[in-house]
């Protein structure tokens, strides 16, 4: 590999892992982190590397698998998004105390904005809570280099290291000259040491003391020390920036003519912040501007708050992405120079995201509303969250919560003697991830609701990664497959039926049966099984295409648009009726069963 190539930030980190002899990588998909593991699988195949690369069932399992490999002396990594880190936080906290053998990197991708997440949370705070060092890359190339540095740091101090890229690093592309690949040469060699690896509380106390000692040394480790990007600049004020905010600042300060006069420090390791750096900047400057996403992690470690302009002083926004236009305004204000002409973006506007034309979930939500029109609809994290638009989703909390919330609603209403229909929806990947324990709980506690597992045989929202039922793993390698029906039955569910939502009349009938069962007999599970329309890796049979047209019977009532919301159903203002947008129509034919006047017809 000796030529510059365009690499996505996630792919650049993936290359960093194989460059540095990482042997085991496990992940669960989540935007913006999803392409890290698929990238590793791709490089593994390209370079024929002896590695174990897997899509784990969830982030906790992924972290535990990779961590065990590190305990056995191999270099290992796990990748997830910030909310996935919450799922994995239990083993992370403990792993910090026990420490590592082989370098162990926890990549947690944050989503300031947020662009595709439930929260804007800052993984660096979790790193602080866990007491593990965290590195904050500013670009795809920087992220690639920090994977290597992170593994080195991890081995030098026997501590897990977090790498915290953000959306703008993960999903930026850059021309990159990848480094040489060093296949792992180590053999797994787990050295038993129960006082460490199976430590009881009294040993944990000693391990905690040891961890604090490591952190003191890491706060003086030269390779991750903050860097002055513009040596020679002087003055009594300075900017301190981390992550992509440092990249914005570098460019903006040059454009504003501040490069020679305003020192710009880049912090690569926001926690633990280098002790000497804190002393140095507090001695050298009267005023500091701190730019970081999302929480003031660096800011809170600069003990002298009086001379820091940042989030705590109200100078830097605490919410949302630090966009370059925001950074430009902050730096101009801080340096007391005229800023750029401020051009404001128009508020709102644009079309909202919607389920794809032909998506089986649209038919499922339509059937759910028909079967339980006044029901409560807890839902979950995935494409089908967009069932919100259709009125088929009332709650979205976190992975797997649709099932536990359905049970919670049932118990809450039961106490007052009411029994509304409750129909929960969860995707197949999400069901495996966190839906099984709450389903067991619901059965045991005799809750009564319908759970519809929207089984499109893939993890669609994040780019069609396989699920445990797919029979293939990362990079398409064959794996065993889990039988979802058997699994549901083994949880104690008495009603478990599979239906095809694209056959809408039959699916509505099945939903009505399930709702009736749940009213009297307990949890009913309907598996709505039909492949994702955009899954290119799907190999099985798809429903036969059924092209449709709208006849003169259409009176423009808009029922189909409001209740079915397919992007291919377009209201023609001039003719005051609905027409089919053939550019976007997928020929699924489901809408023929939606029009109350039967005006949508299949083209024979």
């Amino acid at each position: 590999m000796s030529e510059r190539m365009l690499l996505l930030g996630n792919d650049a980190m993936a290359h960093g892992l194989v460059e540095n002899g990482c042997s085991v990588v496990a992940s669960y998909p989540g935007t913006p982190a999803s392409e890290i593991l698929s990238g590793v699988a791709q490089w593994q195949a390209r370079y024929q590397l002896p590695m174990h690369v897997e899509w784990a069932v969830n982030e906790k399992v992924a972290l535990e698998i990779a961590y065990a490999a590190s305990q056995a002396g191999l270099r290992a990594a796990t990748a997830m998004k910030q909310v996935g880190l919450n799922v994995a936080s239990d083993p992370l906290m403990s792993a910090a105390y026990l420490g590592v053998k082989g370098g162990f990197l926890v990549i947690s991708a944050d989503d300031p904005g947020p662009h595709s997440s439930q929260t804007e949370q800052d993984s660096r705070l979790t790193a602080m809570a866990a007491k593990v060092p965290v590195l904050d890359p500013d670009s795809p190339e920087h992220a690639r280099r920090l994977t290597g540095l992170g593994l080195e740091l991890s081995e030098a101090f026997e501590v897990p290291v977090m790498l915290r890229p953000t959306t703008r690093v993960c999903h930026a592309n850059q021309d990159i000259l990848p480094g040489a690949v060093h296949p792992a040469v180590r053999r797994a060699d787990f050295v038993k040491d129960p006082q460490r690896w199976a430590a009881t509380p009294v040993h944990r106390y000693r391990l905690h003391l040891a961890l604090e000692e490591k952190l003191r040394k890491i706060a003086a480790w030269e390779p991750t020390a903050p860097q002055l990007l513009n040596p020679g600049s002087g003055g009594r004020r300075a900017v301190i920036a981390a992550g992509v905010a440092a990249a914005h600042a570098r460019e903006i300060m040059q454009d504003l003519g501040l490069w020679e006069v305003l020192p710009l420090w880049q912090v690569v390791q926001p926690y633990p912040l280098h002790t000497a750096f804190i002393e140095q900047v507090l001695a050298a400057y009267d005023e500091l501007l701190v730019l970081e996403e999302t929480v003031g992690v660096i800011e809170m470690q600069l003990a002298d708050r009086g001379r820091v302009r940042g989030k705590r002083s109200g100078f830097v926004p605490e919410v949302g992405e630090l966009l370059p236009e925001t950074v430009a305004r902050l730096i101009a204000d801080f340096a007391a120079v005229p800023g750029e002409l401020s051009v404001t973006a128009p508020a709102g506007g644009g079309r909202r995201p919607t389920l794809c034309p032909g998506c089986p979930h649209r038919a499922s939500f339509y059937a759910i509303k028909r079967a339980a029109p006044r029901g409560i609809y807890p839902s979950d994290i995935g494409c089908y969250t967009l069932g919100l638009n259709l009125g088929g989703v009332d709650t979205v909390l976190c992975m797997g919560a649709a099932v536990s919330q359905a049970a919670g609603f049932y118990h809450a209403y039961r106490l007052s003697g009411e029994l509304p229909d409750i129909v929960a929806t969860v995707g197949d990947s999400t069901f495996f991830h966190a839906g099984i324990p709450p389903l067991i709980d619901a059965v045991v506690q005799d809750a009564r609701f319908v759970l519809v597992i929207l089984d499109n045989s893939t993890t669609a929202m994040t780019g069609n990664q396989p699920t445990p039922a797919s029979g293939c793993g990362a990079g398409g390698v064959p794996t065993a497959a889990v039988d979802m029906e058997a699994l549901v039955a083994a949880c104690g569910v008495k009603f478990c039926r599979v239906g095809q939502p694209g056959d809408l009349p039959a699916f509505i009938a099945l939903m009505k049966e399930a709702v009736a069962f749940a009213r009297t007999d307990g949890v009913a599970v309907v598996i709505a099984r039909q492949p994702c329309v955009v899954d290119r890796s799907y190999r099985g049979a798809r429903p036969t295409p059924r092209a449709v047209t709208v006849s003169d019977a259409c009176n423009g009532c808009r029922y189909c648009i409001e209740q079915f919301e397919c992007p291919a159903l377009v209201y023609d203002e001039q003719r005051q009726r609905v027409v089919i947008d053939t550019l976007t129509c997928s020929d699924c034919g489901v809408c023929t069963a939606v029009c109350p006047r039967l005006a949508i017809e299949e083209i024979p």
Binding site: N173, V244, T344, A345, R351, C356, M461, T584
Partner: protein
Amino acid sequence: MANQQLIISGVGGQGILFVTRLLAETAIRKGLAVMTSETHGMAQRGGVVISHLKVGDFASPLVRPGCADGLLALKAENLPLHRHFLRPAGWVVVNAPRAPEWTGETLHSLDADRLALELGNPQALNLLLLGFAVARLAPAAALFCSLDELVATIEHRLAAKGVLLAESLKALRLGIERGAA
């Protein structure tokens, strides 16, 4: 070649990321540094998609409002959403059934949806518009790359995919033809 910053805008499913990648790879083949920023996930599902492309000496992956040299809009309805990125002397190339009412930046428009349907290849509207844009902009040096350089990237990228390569070049050439007219 001076630095260049472009915004490519449309909705999910139109192939915005592919257009961005073709332009970025063309930059690399010319020995230029390049950064892009994309939208993934929820925003991709039929919603507005925007990609930022910066060719030359840059550190940040995002274009600041008022700084873009050009805006390539695969959906006309995105013009009011993303126009603020343009600098005053920038250009717009838009996929629209008829040229929109416009004052200010230079605007070129093409009904790429209709052409793609006529071509029997609705997925090709991105390449149609790209060909049109390069034909209109490159001769005036308003774009960092030439038609030949772009064609070479597509040939390189799709070399192993015979039918797709032929179809892509066909769409691109039709766009170029309209742009040259």
